[in-house]
Amino acid sequence: MKKKKYHKFPEALQQQLPLYYYYFEAIGETDTSLQSRVRFHGSAPLQTNRSAVRNFYKHISRML
């Protein structure tokens, strides 16, 4: 099994996030079905970091 690569959010922000944000793992390079799943979920393609940030805040606001 391939070793997982986790995304590291800035430490100051991490404390304001749900704890599952410690576990965002890199996907896609070798997993084409997941890439298509991302596409089907409508959350991607996220072409820029700006859209990633926008989706991030949308996601947070949905949780409260």
Binding site: Y20, Y21, A44
Partner: protein, 339 residues
């Protein structure tokens, strides 16, 4: 006409539409990527009507819509409410105007969605969210077994929950999954979060206070169940994900080289009945449910995704789900047409 709200890249919708073409049911598909503008909304003591224009090209009048399928997405109404550059000296006013325009638009859209929900329909915009907290609570109320779940904000509470469950605890979002992409030095990377087990080492790293987070007792499983529900009937498949380290916690960490074994599964009649009651209570005509079958022979409800993908359930179970959805939409359309 049957109106369908979905996304542009949505394979299941494409396949259902092929069946609708076969059955000669008139339909119109709106994708969330399409531009939808309101032409008119008319309210009087005698009648209510509206008309919208899709992509500046096709006009749809309310009375043309006899049935509705909410598959995914939303009505994209791209009115601009970014006034900031007009009010550089008064940013608060710009903010207030933007908020006001946003509210006005949301009110309009709410009425459109409610009108569609009052047609013969499968699912609705209002019930699109996968709210695990709400669904777990309802499922438990109906007598379905659910894993012990805790939402907390303090490490002390989390530690106590961890100690209560010697088989382990997991962490996951309380809503649908979330994906994002990063770009650094020309390298793009996609990230997703799945179900993860919390270790004692993780507990040490976590801050004392954090954003409300969902934790759950980790269940042992013989297999997972993915169940597609459609108007009273359940179509289930068993996923043997626990035999693979990569997929044992979450089958969506697909093992491409050696995929999980997925087989059709017949649910006990009593469980089917409970699922039916549950789906009725949450107001869903269709959805994808996840359950666990434990070594002790218990069925545990995990969640329902109202807009989940069902293609793989249909393929593994040999269930003609696209055709069944199309047949149901056909029935709805014909019933409304006659009345």
């Amino acid at each position: 006409m049957l109106l369908i709200l979905t996304e542009a890249f949505e394979e299941s919708t494409d396949l259902v539409l092929e069946w609708l073409l076969h059955y000669k049911i008139p339909f119109f598909r709106i994708n969330q990527e399409d531009k939808v503008t309101l032409q008119e909304m008319n309210i009087s003591n005698e009648a209510f009507s509206f008309s919208i224009v899709v992509n500046d090209a096709v006009s749809i009048h309310a009375n043309e819509i006899t049935a509705f399928w909410y598959r995914r997405g939303f009505l994209h109404t791209p009115y601009s409410y970014q006034q900031d550059h007009f009010f550089t000296d008064n940013p608060q006013l710009a903010k207030d105007i933007n908020q006001n325009l946003y509210t006005e638009l949301q009110n309009l859209k709410q009425v459109l969605y409610e009108y569609l929900d009052n047609r013969a329909h499968i699912n609705s915009f209002a019930s699109r969210n996968n709210n695990k907290l709400q669904h777990l609570q309802l499922a438990a109320g109906l007598g379905l077994k659910v894993p012990h779940t805790l939402v907390c904000t303090q490490k002390a509470n989390l530690r106590s929950f961890y100690e209560q469950h010697p088989d382990g605890i997991i962490v996951k979002p309380n809503s649908s999954g979330f994906f994002f992409k990063t770009e650094e030095e020309g390298i793009t990377e996609d990230y997703a979060v799945y179900t993860n087990c919390i270790s004692a080492d993780d507990l040490e790293v976590f801050p004392d206070d954090f954003f409300p987070t969902l934790f759950q007792q980790k269940l042992s499983k013989q297999f997972e169940l993915r169940i597609f529900y459609l108007q009273g009937k359940s179509y289930a498949m068993a996923i043997f994900s626990q035999q693979d380290k990569q997929t044992e916690l979450d089958f969506r960490r697909y093992n491409i080289a050696r995929p999980n074994r997925n087989v059709p599964f017949k649910l006990p009649a009593a469980l089917q009945q409970k699922i039916k009651q549950f789906m009725k209570q949450v107001g869903l005509g269709s959805g994808s449910l996840d359950m666990i079958y434990t070594p002790e022979g218990d069925y545990y409800f995990l969640e329902v995704n109202p807009v989940g993908q069902y293609g793989f359930t249909g393929a593994a179970g040999n269930y003609p789900l696209d055709q069944l959805i199309a047949l149901h939409l056909k029935q709805q359309y014909e019933k409304e047409k006659v009345s």
